[in-house]
């Protein structure tokens, strides 16, 4: 046997990369089926109301069109997520702008332009609520006119999709502990932090092609939907309800997907069902692809949030206790909001030791298109609040942001806020030391303070410390019960069969690396099956930073199982050559007709999780990180720019350094956009800037050098010691940047996105007597939040 370089930890060529650089990769809009029609969606023009009438313009020959309305749905009129409040098509009432009401299909897509405009819908409008606060107020005042969501059997109440109450210990003991902590605190620090909606802005819009097959009697036999998506089995599930069909009659094929970031997690269930309904109606395959304006206006965004902290601290800089209240804006239907809220809740206390902490969280309903999954999934929101608040506490009690955090970091053997013992090594102290060194933090801190005295450009540095749980929360992975197949094909090549999808992040490549490394075969010999639910098993959705660690581990186990099988059955030598493997595999196939190893999820260590108390092992593993931002704020234009970024993380063993760097850099770029550029402008629930010209994502000329550093500590959970990486980089940039802006200007900003207009308003308010008078001349006074110095007489 020849010695081969390790494949995991190397950077082999991305599996589907050649097709991509050639322009040969076929995305959904690059595909067509014979006799295919095109579909379009007629949407509500108001935020909330009942449909009074629908009329069709006499100028259009409607005979040529297939028209689908709610009453045509053969099964349930619902897009199922966790509850069934979300209709596939609005029947009588609408609850957000751009809500789908009618579907149209025609063989010529040009004909749809006039047809969509030719459907006139009249409404009886009802008052809407558009912010967390308006939604809360309606509940507080029992304003029935503005109770826009009734509650559910899944724990939802009026206008509130979900609440969580999480204690760092027994509820009563924690409440008592908090009472004592606040009584004895040297300082009590309060703060309120807001984050805005964020558009995923994958460059490929949502799109699908659906087919509906009839049986001999004309009944619906089966469906096939192909499209751009993350989670084909989610769409299978949605179709089974909309069409009242068994799972095996609802086939879903994921095609090359041009970016997703969570935006193609739950939404394809909607557009996929729509196209299938049109295919049912017209008897042809139907393609629906959104244009950019429709995709931005009608599909999901990151949940806006508000986080309130109240923290008891001792004068030597120890956290004594804290309460954290997190609220997110879920939009008009529950969709995934309860799960997003869960991650926001669990991540809210961050990588710190809290003797006593209580997190209260809620997801409120508003008449905005439902917010959904976006990389980070609740964690960027609550971590923004936490990491801004940590800087605020440090400033209040007179410690540096660094020293204050050092006195409170979690370490190996400690318990997290959910009571999870950190069994695997955690070294936040070491990470912080290295991150600050890599970024030149201390030198810059001193230099900028000096230079800022005379410069109209104020520069600063700031950082954020955080962690991100990988895999589904708590018992989630056990419930998913993921299944993976590893086959050997007729040509002797191993083939991985999973429902985990590739949408740029590298699924195909890293899973092939795992198989190649474990099977001791060349990377090039591994094949990844197309993701077609008629072929691949359900290995769970491609979300939650779970693919590398959870699915990767299953591929590793399947590979080991295959080696054992071939060693036992076909006398494959211990140190085999690729040729010996092929011979053994083909010999096995000749005897048995096929060769397949299938492996189901098993927790690698014991995981306890109590869904009622929200306590236990929240995640199998965590990735840990310290991110450092350097900024420049131009006092002539009030523009804050990130001028350098250092991202240090401990994500277990790095499987593919090139892909991993790319993931981190891409996440940091989205985080910089989240902090400083990307603002959804809403008017009565409608996104007003639904074009790339007016929704500002960073270009290549807007991003600073992003330096990525890894600390490699093998984890027991993932293949080859790896952990998840996908969402982590979204969490840190925004608080690090706003911390740096406070360092640069002396002013605390606690809302993102932070645009030049916001900085301008704040600075001019200091000198405008009508806006606050002289006390505001001191920029160190934080006008957003209240600081109580509850200094107990010593």
């Amino acid at each position: 046997m020849s010695e081969r370089k390790p494949i995991l930890g190397g950077s082999p060529i991305r599996k589907e990369g050649r097709a991509k650089v050639l322009g040969a990769a076929k995305y959904i809009d690059d595909q067509e089926l014979p006799d295919m029609w095109f579909g379009a969606t007629v949407r509500s023009s108001i935020a909330r109301g009942t449909i009074r009438s629908i009329t069709f313009s006499p100028e259009i020959n409607w005979e040529e069109f297939a028209i689908v309305r709610a009453s045509d749905i053969p099964g349930e009129n619902t897009i199922v997520h966790l509850t069934k409040d979300h209709p596939c098509l609005a029947a009588n009432e609408v609850n957000h702008p751009e809500e789908p009401i009618l579907l149209l299909a025609h063989p010529d897509k040009t004909a749809l332009i006039a047809a969509v405009r030719g459907v006139k819908i009249e409404y009886d409008e009802l008052p809407g609520v558009f912010t967390i606060e308006e939604s809360e107020t309606a509940v507080e005042n029992n304003d029935v006119e503005r109770i826009i969501w009734p509650g559910s059997d899944q724990g939802g109440t009026a206008n509130c999709f979900k609440t969580y109450l999480m204690y760092s210990g027994d509820a009563k003991e924690t409440e008592d502990g908090l009472a004592t902590a606040f009584e004895n605190a040297d300082f009590i620090v309060e703060g309120e932090y807001h984050t805005g909606a964020q558009e995923q802005l994958y460059i490929e819009n949502n799109g699908v092609i659906a087919e509906c097959f009839r049986d001999a009697t004309g009944g619906i036999e089966s469906l096939c939907v192909r499209g751009s998506m993350q989670c084909p089995y989610y769409l299978v599930h949605a179709l089974t309800l909309v069409f009242n069909l068994p799972e095996d009659k609802c086939r879903v094929i994921q095609v090359e997907t041009g970016g997703a970031f969570g935006g193609k997690e739950d939404f394809p269930s909607l557009i996929g069902s729509h196209a299938a309904l049109l295919a049912m109606k017209c008897g042809h395959p139907v393609k629906i692809t959104y244009d950019r304006a429709e995709d931005m206006a009608a599909t999901t965004k990151r949940h806006p949030s508000r986080t309130r902290h109240r923290t008891a601290v001792s004068k030597d800089g120890k956290l004594l206790g804290g309460t954290i209240d997190v609220a997110i804006d879920g939009g008009a239907y529950a969709t995934l909001s309860p799960v997003v809220l869960s991650r926001a809740t669990i991540h809210a206390p961050g990588p710190y030791k809290w003797p006593h902490v209580r997190v209260k969280a809620k997801a409120m309903a508003t008449n905005i298109p439902p917010h959904g999954a976006f990389r980070g999934f609740g964690a960027p929101q609550s971590l923004f609040g936490l990491e801004r608040h940590m800087d605020k506490i440090a400033k209040t009690i007179g410690l540096t942001p660094e020293e204050f955090r050092r006195r409170n970091f979690l370490a190996t053997g400690d318990c997290t806020a959910t009571g999870q013992p950190l069994v695997e090594p955690v070294d936040m102290q070491g990470l912080l030391t290295r991150a600050l060194r890599e970024a030149g933090y201390h030198e810059k801190l001193a230099r900028f303070a000096e230079e800022n005295k005379t410069s109209s450009i104020k520069r600063g540095v700031g950082f954020a410390s955080f962690m991100h749980g990988t895999g589904f929360t708590g018992s989630g992975e056990r419930r998913l019960n993921s299944l993976v197949y590893l086959d050997v094909r007729e040509d002797g090549r191993p083939e991985i069969l999973v429902s985990s999808t590739e949408f740029g992040q590298g699924t195909n490549t890293i899973l092939s690396q795992v198989a190649a490394q474990t099977l001791n075969l060349p990377y090039e010999s591994i094949v990844v099956s197309p993701v077609d639910t008629s072929i691949v098993p359900n290995s769970g959705p491609t979300v939650a930073s779970r693919t590398a660690m959870i699915v990767g581990k299953l591929v590793e186990r399947a590979s080991l199982q295959m080696l054992t099988l071939l060693r036992n059955e076909e006398k494959l030598p211990e140190a085999h050559t690729p040729e010996e493997f092929k011979a053994a595999a083909l010999a096995y196939r000749a005897k048995h007709g096929s060769l397949r190893c299938s492996v189901r999820y098993e927790p690698p260590a014991k995981i306890y999780w109590d869904d009622e108390l929200y306590r236990g092992d929240a995640y199998p593993g965590y990735a840990w990180a310290v991110y450092v931002a350097e900024v420049a704020v131009d006092m002539n234009t009030y523009m804050a720019t990130c001028t350098r970024f250092d991202a240090l993380q401990e994500v277990g063993m790095v499987m593919h350094p090139v892909l991993a760097k790319g993931q981190i850099e891409g996440g940091v770029a989205q985080g910089i956009g989240y902090a400083l550029y990307e603002k959804c402008m809403w008017k009565d629930g409608r996104m007003m800037n639904n074009q790339m010209t007016n929704y500002i994502m960073p270009t290549s000329a807007d991003l600073p050098p992003i330096h990525v550093h890894f600390e490699e500590v093998p984890s027991i959970h993932g293949p080859g010691g790896a952990k998840g990486i996908g969402e982590l980089p979204m969490d840190g940039p925004a608080p690090a940047i706003l911390n740096a802006i406070e360092n640069a200007t002396g002013v605390a900003f606690n809302t993102i996105p932070l645009l030049p207009e916001d900085i301008f308003e704040r600075f001019t308010s200091f000198t405008d007597p009508e806006l606050g008078g002289t006390e505001d001349m001191d920029p160190a006074v934080d006008r957003d939040t209240r600081v109580e110095s509850a200094e107990v007489s010593a």
Binding site: T110, I113, A114, D291, A293, N636, T637, Y638, M639, Y677, M681, M688, N689, Q691, T693, N694, I696, P698, T699, S700, A701, D702, P756, E757, F760, E761, T764
Partner: protein, 291 residues
């Protein structure tokens, strides 16, 4: 794609004379289409109301950069890329080259034309502040003749220009008299590239010792059209920049600018911000003159 392209007519007359003859025959019926970077966006979003279009992108006679002793003459069909590559413009009219470099992306600079930028008449357009500061004139042609108008008199209101329906913008003439001038331009956009101006200021000034002997200011997004800032200019002309006077000069100039600024709140920024930053840019320019 929100337009049915079969409902639009586009022809490419063989010569400028043919274009002018067509315009003269049915004034107001046809719309000129050059680089397409504006009208094609309108087509895509379903907002293009003009259905009869004449392509002038192929007319070589509109794509030139001519230099004589007193001026640089730029054909209206000259692309932003042509402008950036012109040695004469880079040397004599650096603000022109600079503003061309931040008009859209490279791909859009390769198609978009100076004439299109002017005739589209967006108050946020990138080149107009420079043309105002440089005191450009425009040569307008029609089947019935040629006339020249000062660029400062071209924009009459929001997206309204002095161009008659039978006319075409032929040449942009920019004087070559700025060798001894201090020149300044700054664009504050939504981001560093591919951005639409929230505010932009172009300025040229001639100093006689520490006295401002000549000054011209042009701004984008400060009014409903590209605007020459005459009140600020008046406040600055003949003022001294010595230590005793500079602060008063700055204050007067800012007040002048504030009196003539009529910015708006829109999807990209706020009126307050625009007015304040315009003042800051002006102050930055004035103080840079002292050095």
């Amino acid at each position: 794609m929100r337009s049915d392209v079969s409902q639009f007519d586009l022809t490419a007359p063989p010569s400028l004379d043919a274009v002018l003859a067509t315009l003269a025959k049915e004034p107001g019926k046809h719309t000129l289409l050059a680089g397409g970077t504006e009208l094609m966006v309108a087509l895509g979003t379903g907002r293009l109301n003009q259905h009869s279009l004449l392509s002038i992108q192929h007319l070589r006679e509109l794509r030139f950069i001519g230099v004589d002793d007193s001026a640089i003459h730029i054909g209206s069909g000259t692309t932003f890329t042509d402008i950036r590559r012109s040695k004469a413009i880079t040397a004599d009219l650096p603000l022109m080259a600079q503003s061309a470099s931040w008009t859209g992306s490279v791909a859009n600079q390769n198609r978009g034309t100076l004439g299109g930028n002017i005739c589209n008449a967006s108050p946020a357009a990138d080149t107009p502040p420079v043309l105002l500061a440089y005191g450009a004139t425009l040569t307008l042609v029609s089947a019935s003749g040629t006339r020249t108008v000062p660029y400062a008199e071209f924009h009459l209101g929001y997206k309204k220009t002095a161009l008659r329906p039978d006319e075409l913008l032929h040449t942009i003439n920019v004087p070559r008299t700025f060798a001894g001038y201090r020149q300044y331009i700054r664009k504050v956009g939504t981001r560093n590239a591919q951005a639409i101006s929230k505010i932009a200021l172009a300025a040229v000034a001639k100093l006689d010792g520490d006295r401002i002997a000549d000054i011209r200011l042009g701004a984008a997004s400060l009014a409903n059209r590209p605007a020459r800032c005459s009140a600020a200019e008046a406040a600055l002309l003949n003022q001294r920049l010595d230590a005793a006077n500079i602060d008063a000069t700055v204050r007067a100039a800012r007040a002048g600018l504030a009196s003539e600024a009529k910015p708006i709140d829109d999807i990209r920024s706020t009126a307050k911000y625009r007015a304040a930053v315009a003042g800051n840019l002006l102050e930055e320019f004035i103080r840079s003159l002292v050095v």
